[in-house]
């Protein structure tokens, strides 16, 4: 689904979602992910109001800020700076607010997520699986389920939020 995110910078759009153990080993324990989030946040706060309106893609901006911070940090630590290949890994790193989760195997995360999907309401579950497994569009799902496309979107949001909330319980 990531390819649909047209607003992302090309850099991010091209990357897969694979977790790099190498990267995690190098950064996770030296620089707490929470510190990184905090620093990203502080940089966002520093944006002048006038400039804020000019940021074409706040999401790409967010990730670029994060990636740059990790690069700077690597320089400080006298490590080789990260190449653009590793930007996706930065995302992974940022997304893991605790070391516990950072250490969690991606397979395990997927498995847990699978369990959570089964606990969603049948409608929510149906919509999410059709969208993410069968790559059906909202419109196609809407026709199949005989509901509106805006309803499909709501199920996607509700379902993802419910899964994320329960994944957070594992943290």
């Amino acid at each position: 689904m990531r390819e649909k995110h047209g607003a992302w910078s090309a850099l991010f759009a091209e990357k897969g979602a694979t977790l790099s153990k190498y990267f995690l080993r190098r950064v996770a324990h030296r620089w707490d992910a929470q510190d990184l989030v905090q620093e990203v946040y502080l940089r966002l706060l520093r944006i002048e109001p006038a400039d804020a309106a000019n940021i074409r893609s706040p999401e790409a901006y967010l990730f670029t800020v994060a990636a740059n911070l990790v690069k700077e940090h690597a320089v400080l630590r006298q490590q080789a700076p990260l190449g653009s290949d590793e930007l996706e890994q930065v995302v992974e790193q940022l997304a893991a607010p605790t070391n516990l989760e950072a250490d969690m195997d991606s397979d395990l995360r997927t498995e847990r997520l699978g369990v959570l999907i089964d606990r969603l309401s049948p409608k929510c579950k149906a919509v999410l699986i059709m969208h993410y497994r069968d790559e059906m569009s909202y419109r196609e799902i809407a026709e199949r389920m005989k509901i509106s496309t805006s309803m499909v979107k709501k199920y996607v949001v509700k379902g993802l939020a419910a899964c994320r909330q329960r994944m957070a319980d594992y943290e």
Binding site: M1, R2, K4, H5, G6, A17, Q34, V37, V40, Y41, L44, L45, I47, A53, I55, P58, E59, L62, A66, E92, L94, A95, P97, R109, T110, E111, L113, G114, L116, L120, S121, P122, K123, K125, A126, V127, L128, I129, M130, H131, Y132, R133, D134, M136, R144, M145, M151, K153, V156, V157, K158, L160, A161, A162, C163, R164, Q165, R166, M167, A168
Partner: protein, 371 residues
């Protein structure tokens, strides 16, 4: 109260997650300038927003792989979704309850005994409703608690009564008043709305006048205890009715006490009255620790939770309240039920100081309305 702080934290976390997911999904199409500013503003509100957004991005990365493991065909999925009676197994219900049982073996044993009886009691209550409706809402009937389990009775005005074992209440509803007398034992009332007929509950020498409330009455050898789980109750002296002639006079008499959420009053045999803050969990410990429901409306299920909490769930939208669901929930965890409701489309959970409102989110709400 510790409970409500936890509730607050859970609700806030859920809100942030929903906002993060909404924003993430919005990015599938280029944002308008207003949305861009709003999104940036949202990120800048709190580092928690930033962290949660990253977390959602990561989970989304795993989502495709997780969905790919599912073996049900599209036909099967559509078929399951088409049934209007989804079974809600609240997450963790299996493991969490088992742990709970180990921690409280006494309660677990009682629970096992109750399991069958409760279902029977619910069925009986349903049959009763049919009978009463024919009688135009007029009732003259005595109810006795079951031997094996807490009994749930729904009165024709919508009042929900839970009766402990070996408890007895008499119900007299006429055109002007709804009167219930607690003869003995432990009963919990969730009073139905009827603005024309006040609800008066007689407990020994006192009359409790309900003002939109859930409350617990306990009568035993040591005296009478009234606990207001949520809402307000006025306590009147039954003698005033005789002295001054009639119920109207009673209702205008000076109250013995006015109680609000979380307050308790002990009406001792000696006549001494002690008003004190109550531990709601202790007061309702006699109620089943699970809430089981089969094809019941969300409105009714919410009321069953309200017997256990001083922060009642209020379903403000009729069509949400009428939706039927089935499932088993841990009774002392209304936030779990609220969390489940929040996963339904068009449902928003709004936490206020004294209640949790369940409202319909309109079109704009899902996107940026609550940002």
């Amino acid at each position: 109260m510790n409970n409500s702080t936890q509730f607050d934290a859970a609700r806030q976390a859920r809100r942030i997650t929903e906002q993060a997911v909404s924003w993430y999904i919005e990015q599938q199409e280029p944002l308008t300038e207003r949305q861009r500013v709003a999104f940036l503003g949202w990120l800048r509100t709190s580092p928690r927003h930033v962290a949660e957004y990253f977390a959602v991005v990561q989970m989304h990365g795993d989502f495709k792989a997780a969905a790919a493991l599912k073996t049900l065909t599209v036909e099967q999925l559509v078929d399951q979704a088409g049934r209007d009676n989804p079974v809600v197994m609240f997450p963790m219900v299996g493991s969490a309850i088992r742990k709970e049982h180990v921690a409280r073996p006494g309660r677990a044993r009682r629970l096992a005994m109750r399991a069958g009886g409760l279902a029977a009691a619910v069925v009986m209550a349903w049959l009763g409703v049919g009978y009463w409706r024919d009688a135009n809402g007029l009732v003259e009937r005595s109810f006795k608690g079951d031997l094996a389990a807490v009994r749930t009775v729904t009165l024709p005005d919508g009042t929900l009564v839970q009766l402990d074992r070996d408890s007895v209440i008499d119900v007299h509803f006429d055109g002007r008043f709804r009167r219930i007398e607690v003869i003995k034992g432990n009963a919990l009332f969730d009073v139905g709305k009827d603005t024309h007929r006040p609800m008066l509950v007689n407990v020994g020498g006192h009359v409790l006048q309900d003002i939109g409330t859930v409350f617990d009455v306990k009568r035993d050898a040591s005296g009478d205890t009234l606990t207001v789980i949520s809402g307000r109750v006025r306590v009147l002296n039954a003698a005033d009715e005789l002295k001054q002639g009639g119920l109207a006079a009673l209702l205008n008499a000076d109250p013995v006490a006015d109680l609000t959420t979380g307050q308790q009053i002990s009406l001792n045999v000696s006549g001494a009255i002690v008003k004190q803050p109550a531990q709601v969990a202790k007061v309702t410990a006699w109620l089943p620790s699970e809430i089981r429901f089969q094809h019941e409306t969300i409105g009714n299920v919410a009321r069953r939770f309200n017997a256990y909490t001083s922060k009642p769930l209020v379903i403000e939208n009729g069509s949400i309240a009428d939706e039927r669901i089935s499932g088993i929930f841990h009774a002392d965890n209304p936030q779990a039920f609220a969390a489940y409701l929040a996963t339904l489309p068009d449902v928003r959970v709004v936490e206020e100081n004294d209640r949790v409102r369940i409202i319909a989110s309109n079109q704009t709400d899902t996107k940026v309305g609550h940002l």
